[in-house]
């Protein structure tokens, strides 16, 4: 039984420049203790997916269809206060920018106490301090930092604090939305190692959203490749990376520099599509070297090929 199942989710944004389709029928599944990577360019809809699961979409966004099943319950049907109970406790989210995701006027310990209090934990100040200190140390942050303010810490440390806050109430699912994008490579590697630890120790499932295929390769059991609001490929990470089936996945992998790999980097030609009016047929066809007339007119459905899901007429 999957922990999280997204079925045919459709999300659009209403902006001054028109209606933008962010997700056009996205489905995925995540099991207990699994790490699933979600890879795509900016505008592919991957962040929207993460936000939609927790119903943290901005005011001008609309969920137009689909289901988000968490432990069997459809999150889209819950009342706001039911949803609030889930946020932070059952499902937690860590955001991209460590420099702006902690409240500058609150100490680290206050972030934790607030969390405990809101979810009715009833700890005393000492208990809260001890528990918060424990989780911080597990994340590699010294206990003394509890009394500090965010600006006194580095970006990497702040991100660890954010992760610690996410794990404080032992959620079943952690959504990591591009959490390493704003960090330098060395710190990025440390965070990835940290997540491996987390997964091992806490048995938390992780939805790892990123544009970096390399990180996914290290961390995720399965990977979902997204393009222009749709899923184009889904399967075991190892398999997808060694034998990608969708032209976009192939192109993504070819654009990542690898030791011992080919000498030339192959960027993907063209630009991501304008989501106010996505291309007809297969959305990748304008940039696909294999595009045919069929690609231009018919949208390829997501089909099962072995244990892989691919959305391409020629996979």
């Amino acid at each position: 039984m999957s922990l999280l199942e997204v079925r045919d989710l459709k999300v659009s944004y209403t902006t001054r420049r028109g209606r933008i389709e962010a997700l056009s029928g996205v489905s995925l599944a995540l099991g207990e203790g699994e790490v699933v990577g979600v890879v795509g360019e900016s505008g592919s809809g991957k962040s929207t997916l993460g936000q939609a699961i927790l119903r943290l979409l901005p005011r001008y966004a609309h969920i137009e269809g689909g289901e988000v099943l968490f432990q069997g319950r459809n999150l889209l049907e819950l009342e706001e206060d039911e949803m609030r109970e889930i946020r932070g406790r059952e499902i937690a989210m860590v955001f991209q920018d460590p420099y702006s995701s902690l409240n500058p006027v609150m100490r680290i310990i206050d972030h934790f106490s607030e969390l405990y209090e809101e979810h009715g934990a009833g700890y005393t100040r000492e208990e809260a301090a001890k528990l918060a200190g424990d989780i911080l140390e597990k994340m590699g942050v010294p206990r003394e930092k509890l009394l500090e303010y965010p600006h006194q810490m580095s970006g990497g440390q702040r991100q660890r604090v954010a992760i610690a806050l996410g794990l404080a109430l032992n959620p079943r699912l952690l959504i990591a939305d591009e959490i390493t994008t704003a960090l330098d490579a060395l710190v990025e590697a440390q965070i990835v190692d940290l997540l491996k630890e987390v997964r091992h120790t806490f048995k938390t499932s992780i939805l790892f959203i990123t544009h970096n295929m390399g990180l996914v390769a290290q961390l995720a059991d399965k990977v979902t490749v997204m393009y222009a609001g749709k899923i184009v490929e889904f399967g075991n990470t190892r398999d997808v990376i060694s034998s990608p089936l969708h032209p976009y996945t192939k192109a993504l992998l070819a654009s990542v520099p690898r030791i011992g790999g080919s000498k030339e980097l192959q960027p993907i030609p063209g630009d991501p599509p304008d989501m106010r009016s996505p291309p007809p047929g297969c959305r990748f066809h304008p940039r696909c070297p294999l595009a045919t007339e069929k690609c231009r007119s018919e949208e390829p459905p997501l089909k099962l090929k072995g244990d892989r899901l691919v959305a391409c007429h020629y996979a």
Binding site: T15, R16, P58, Y60
Partner: protein, 293 residues
Amino acid sequence: MRRPKTFGEWSLLTGGVLTGIVVVLAVFGQYLAQGNVTSSYIYVDSRPVEVPPLLPPLSQVKVGEETRVFYLGTDQLGRDVLGRLLAGARFVLAVALLSTLISGIVGTLLGLISGYTGGLLDRALSVTMDSLYSLPGLIIAIALAALLGTGLWNISMAIAVAYIPSYFRMVRGNVLSLKNMPFVEAARISGAGPLSITVRQILPNTFPSIASLLPITFADAIITEAGLSFLGLGIEPPTPDWGFDLNKGRQFFLAGYWWIGVFPGLAIVVSVLGFLLLGEGLNEILNPKRWEI
């Protein structure tokens, strides 16, 4: 012209309309209202006729053959309120214009020099400007007006001093951030001297922020002038002036003669609001914020 969408565009439109009306009335006012502005007498066929004081708006006075209408009534000395309003507009706007120009030019110059030169001069000027900025503008204007005396130039100078720091700070800030930009480096490398760089490269880039501050200073100057004349500083009666008339009107207000004070007050509100909105609208256009959705 399309319909304004944002608050800034509405401001610009409304502000433009209001200021346009005010300026037109000020410039052409003397042809509109032929009333007696500074004396209690109007001249009909070279004979002075005394106008009764404290007439309510729309009163009619028979002078010889014709009937004159005092649309806004007369004040406590029999002077035409409408006429004084229009003449006052000329004076007030002239003062505001002068003060704005003086403070804008002096503040910008000082800001440019201070920002570009740096060093001791910069520190000294900055400290001075900070002190000036922290004191209430009205108080400074009062002190200076008390010392300099009455008259158009003196009031304008007194008011201008209070606004110099705003321009100084803004321009200096701009200069500091522009000073190290590549295009300035390029000019320096190609041999341009500091004067040329300041005037040709840096100054034009400060224009947008200066331009959006000008209408706001103008509006502030009108209010400060009104405050000064309300306190009896800077103008010699019987010069028509809104603030002064408002003060006089105040004393008669509670006795029921409301038009003497209300109309000058409204004139002030409309003018200030007009320039303020104009400034806000300009600000939004010249310095766009990037939070769009």
